[in-house]
Point group: C2
């Protein structure tokens, strides 16, 4: 590597710090780890950890932790399952859940688990398909070839195949997953313990959350899955300074984005999303406060909104920090010397200028913000399925291709309660946002509202629809276009009414913005790869990654030192008896049962981000020493850059987790299974 | 002026367009107006218009429109008065108000009106006092001298004296006002008509609002004020292209701010405020929707929150537009050649870096965001009055100086209902914001909450306080430090508990940020004045200004043409029967009484901003042709720059206003008074 390229490397993709990097399993920097820690994971070690890792299709990570199909993840990753299984009488979110026998394990209606069994490079095939194309043609060719590849691979409902984009399109791979759709709940603590400290402590550390849950994968024969790949529980817990690995699915980073793209995020996209979420939060909190039943149905979506709000706020703050963009500008200036880069940057900036005035309309009409409702999602899904499924596979919207059919069916036919009154207020909120943002005279707004007020329309829709009923949805899905055309369901009628203009907005985005950003993103990615090779790691894309780091605290900008471990005693000291700092009854009763110095939560330097939730934290033996459930506030800027001094992953400590299960929850069957698996 | 200075002028303070400028009365560009329109206002014309102009101390503009003390302003400027006078039985906000005799005119508890009678330059005196000082010393000297000047001037409760800062401290003037504190309500339309189109139409045009109200100033003898300065109603309404003037009190512009200050607004201050307001809006809307009584007490503060949210959003969008900051950067680069400018810019940027991590804490602890409550305001006001009033005048916090005592007393002793339940939810909101933003372990948060949950503390405070009662407040105010020390009122105790740390935050801000920004702002202002003279206009500071312009529509970026006048027929066409597009009953009954083609609202090119609400729109005869109540969306960016192509002021048209009063509202006595005053 020439000196110029080396300088470029320092500015660009090469990890700046030893622990930076969300590595794909086929390019893990074994040498670097060996050099730094005297331990080089073998290929068998890597394969076993990969196959023990589980992806929850909803957006989380997990792992097999017993040969009997037991899966460990976070409580917050399966909160919607717990809610789906709850009723006013059996409020498992409030009181927790424990299956004392296999029979008591309850199936999660919406949870799908995936195990990554194969990775194949398909870059050449996709480059061939898109060669010389641009704009809409580029997009169509790319999507068409992707869905062809996926369909060829996905034979049967037990296989899921995704073409994944790495290095911003510099490389494409086909990821083949084994798909599990019968996933049952084994254990969940109380919501107030999983999220101890609530929104106030979210993304903070020191932390005292017990954000763990256990599921079990059942096979097609209705038996617990037998698996040879699973992670044993470590006998020794992780201590400060220990080398640890996180295997999971970071959802998305934007560390390779152009300065123009980051400025667009800072000035347009993030402010839009933040304002939407902030108002939604205010609305939902007040709504939830008005009755116990409303609180029960709202707390989970509310928690999602609050989590998103805080995460995006952290991102905005990172971008608003002058230093970050200054570094990016310097890196971009260095890259600009490469051939084609200047043109690609200009094209990207121009596409964003086009996008700027269309952004909100796209979010509202097509992106879901105008219709923030499960029922509307179902209606739109059914309406579009009727139109898309008869088309040749390569011409469909990506979410309706053959490879995605199992997920689609699961989404449309899930048997979970939909709280009607909450649907009403959320639809009202969305309709108001539509009218406010696009204006009362806007044609789309008139198509939605006619002369109705938002709240009246929402009330009428929720009252009139039959989409609460799975059988009705099954009928509409099976009946296809004819059934949809004949339906008088008011939500189906609304979804039909808005479909053409919503698709038009989407097409405009895809043809004039997305395709340009993608094509030029690829060009820039190739320029980077040409300069640096694949010695870096690709931006996160909810694909399996391995990161390494150490158990370590940090020093705050004001000089305060934060230690890497918290203890059970700390949790009891923090408890106030009132939400969100209320320890649930089992914890109060068990006080003293777990030694106070037992570690409860842990901070590590691993490079993680949202999507890594539920990832196992393992030691060099590949044994479980913790369960990632969060990052600290500083880690939110990790979307754009890893800052080794302050970026920390946050997990439940393996020791505290096991002792808590045993002595606080009396989860004997579960603990026995985990202990049996202990090495 | 040299060529370089001329170029600088083009980049800097000189109005870029004929109609740009919020001119002080002593520097109105008569020559420019004469050159452009063939009309030069005489000194007598200017004096009369100035003395006919009224400032509502709460933050609005108004004007005398009859010799009997009749005052015209906007409905939204006195909404809180209407609300104060309302009860569940007599909901004047819903049904409007009309006094059919002088006796029926009801006194507004919180409204103070001012008439600007004298302006004196005091720059030299203040420069003398601050010479050679910096940091806290600079601030103390400046504030001390200001309050000395004000006290010397303000003799008695009928006089108000403010030292006003012009040209960012390049010039100081003493503004002497005649103060009127007995202001009574004469007429108000229904809230739904004043704000027809609601938040959706707010800051939009075409517009159909009837946002007008009439007050009357009563003198100390309990009689309607007799005044020789008042504006007659024009017989001929304003037509497209007509020259028109707006005399009023634009609240604040930041057109002279440095790039660093604008970036701070874009990245830190505005996002903070926007998120606070968005969440508050969501909360208040849901709260208000839950019962009719809650709606009644909430709609007015809600409207304020929504208005602020939309206005700040417009500002943020203007700053996020790359062009605006690019222009400002170029202007700043040009100014940088002036001596001392580079150092001043550097010092400003450094102060903002200090400020960045302290901003939210200051807003929450001292700026009111942690305690968004009328009751807390009263408690803090009483606690601080007890501490400040015994001090020598020059050492007090500015809001407790002798010159401000009448306003302070009016604020603390106003006799208006305080809705307890709304106080409870707003306090809860503020406490939650405190804990979320500063963290559960923060010392200030613990001082506020102890181990209480926000909602419980808020409930207990509202339940336990006696500050609803004016007599109790009078007792505490009269009793001074001893009464405060003896008080067991929980809100007084809270205000005392947090006072030291809140003051500390304020002091830190004032000493390390405000004083630096002020001092260097002055240096920059002087550099600008040295280069350009006072041929420009100073940034708006809620002081009386005169702007000129024409009745004119505009062309939207997408090519759509917007006409400058809307009509009564248009209002009826827009009506849907449902809020916010519901015409009230009197309008439905009177349909056809006012000819459909009668102008209702009007757009003009006048350079206005928030605070101009309620300003009279007058023709070259100085006669009323309209009533400013808003600007279009583009005008929101006017905070930072005037864009002649799209910036428009929005008003009720004089013709429509008079006919509406007469034929829709049957306001005979009022119309007779206005017609008698017609020339």
């Amino acid at each position: 590597m020439s000196r110029r390229l080396l300088a470029l490397g320092l500015l660009l993709a090469l990890p700046a710090a030893a622990e930076e990097g969300m590595w794909t399993y086929d390019a893990f920097p074994r040498d670097a780890v060996e050099k730094a820690y005297g331990f080089a994971p073998s290929q068998a070690w890597l394969d076993h950890l990969r196959l023990s890792s589980v992806r929850l299709a909803g957006g989380c990570s997990a792992s097999f932790v017993s040969p009997g199909g037991l899966v460990m993840t976070n409580h917050h990753c399966i909160r919607s399952c717990i809610e789906d299984l709850s009723s006013p009488k059996n409020d498992y979110l409030a009181k927790g859940f424990l299956a004392r026998s296999a029979k008591e394990e309850l199936r999660c209606p919406k949870v799908e688990a995936n195990q990554l069994v194969e990775m194949t490079d398909v870059t050449a095939r996709l480059e061939g398909a898109t060669q010389g194309k641009r704009g809409a043609d580029f997009n169509t060719a790319l999507k068409g070839e992707m869905s062809r590849i996926e369909s060829e691979c996905a034979q049967g409902p037990d296989v899921r195949c995704d073409v994944v984009t790495l290095f911003n399109g510099g490389r494409y791979q086909l990821y083949k997953y084994r798909r599990f759709q019968d996933v049952r709940l084994v254990f969940a603590p109380e919501f107030s313990m999983a999220a101890f400290g609530g929104d106030a402590d979210n993304f903070n550390f020191p932390r005292y959350g017990f954000d763990a849950a256990f599921l079990r994968v059942w096979d097609a024969a209705g038996q617990p899955l037998q698996t040879e790949h699973w992670l044993p529980w470590a006998k020794q817990g992780a201590k400060e300074g220990d080398l640890v690995f996180v295997s999971g699915h970071p959802g998305g980073t934007e560390r390779q984005r152009t300065v123009a793209e980051l400025e667009f995020q800072r000035d347009v996209a993030l402010p839009y999303h933040l304002l939407y979420l902030a108002e939604e939060r205010g609305m939902l909190r007040e709504y939830a406060a008005s009755s116990a039943e409303r609180w029960r149905t709202t707390r989970s979506p509310l928690r999602g909104v609050e989590n998103g709000l805080k995460a995006l706020r952290g991102r905005h703050q990172a971008l608003a920090e002058p230093g970050l963009l200054a570094d990016k500008r310097a890196a971009e200036a260095a890259l600009r010397e490469q051939p084609g880069v200047d043109e690609a940057l200009t094209a990207t900036a121009r596409a964003l200028d086009t996008w700027r005035p269309l952004f909100a309309a796209h979010r509202l009409k097509e992106g879901g913000d105008g219709f923030p409702s499960e029922l509307f999602d179902l209606a739109r899904g059914l309406v579009r399925a009727a139109e898309e499924l008869p088309k040749p596979n390569a011409e469909r919207l990506p979410e309706f291709t053959e490879a995605r059919l199992p997920s689609l069916r699961q989404r449309l036919l899930r048997d979970a309660p939909i709280p009607a009154d909450l649907e009403r207020v959320r639809l009202t909120f969305g309709f108001n946002k539509l009218r406010e943002t696009l204006g009362a005279d806007d044609a789309f707004v008139r198509t939605v509202l006619g002369r109705e007020a938002p709240e009246e329309l929402a009330r009428a829709l929720v009252k009139g629809t039959k989409l609460f009923d799975v059988k009705e949805r099954q009928r509409l899905l099976d009946g296809g276009a004819a059934a949809i055309a004949a339906s008088k369901d008011p939500l189906v009628l609304l979804a039909r009414r808005v479909d053409a203009p919503a698709r038009e907005t989407r097409k405009r985005y895809e043809d004039t913005v997305e395709s340009v950003l993608k094509k030029n993103g690829e060009l820039l990615a190739r320029a980077r790869l040409a300069a640096l090779g694949t010695s870096g790691y690709p931006d996160a894309t909810f694909t399996l990654r391995l990161s390494y780091g150490t158990v370590q605290g940090w020093t705050e900008p004001d000089g305060a030192r934060v230690a890497p471990l918290t203890t059970f005693a700390g949790a009891y000291a923090r408890q106030t008896g009132k939400e969100p700092f209320r320890l649930p009854d089992p914890w109060m009763k068990a006080q003293g049962q777990v030694p106070g110095e037992t570690p409860l939560d842990v901070a590590t330097t691993n490079d993680i981000i949202g999507g890594n939730s539920g990832s196992p934290l393992v030691d060099r033996e590949g044994q479980v020493v913790g369960l990632i459930f969060d990052g600290n506030l500083h880690s939110l800027g990790g979307r754009y850059a890893y800052v080794p001094e302050t970026h920390r992953a946050v997990g439940v400590h393996g020791e505290g987790l096991l002792l808590g299960l045993e002595r606080v929850y009396g989860a004997e069957r579960l603990v026995k299974e985990l202990r049996a698996a202990r090495r």
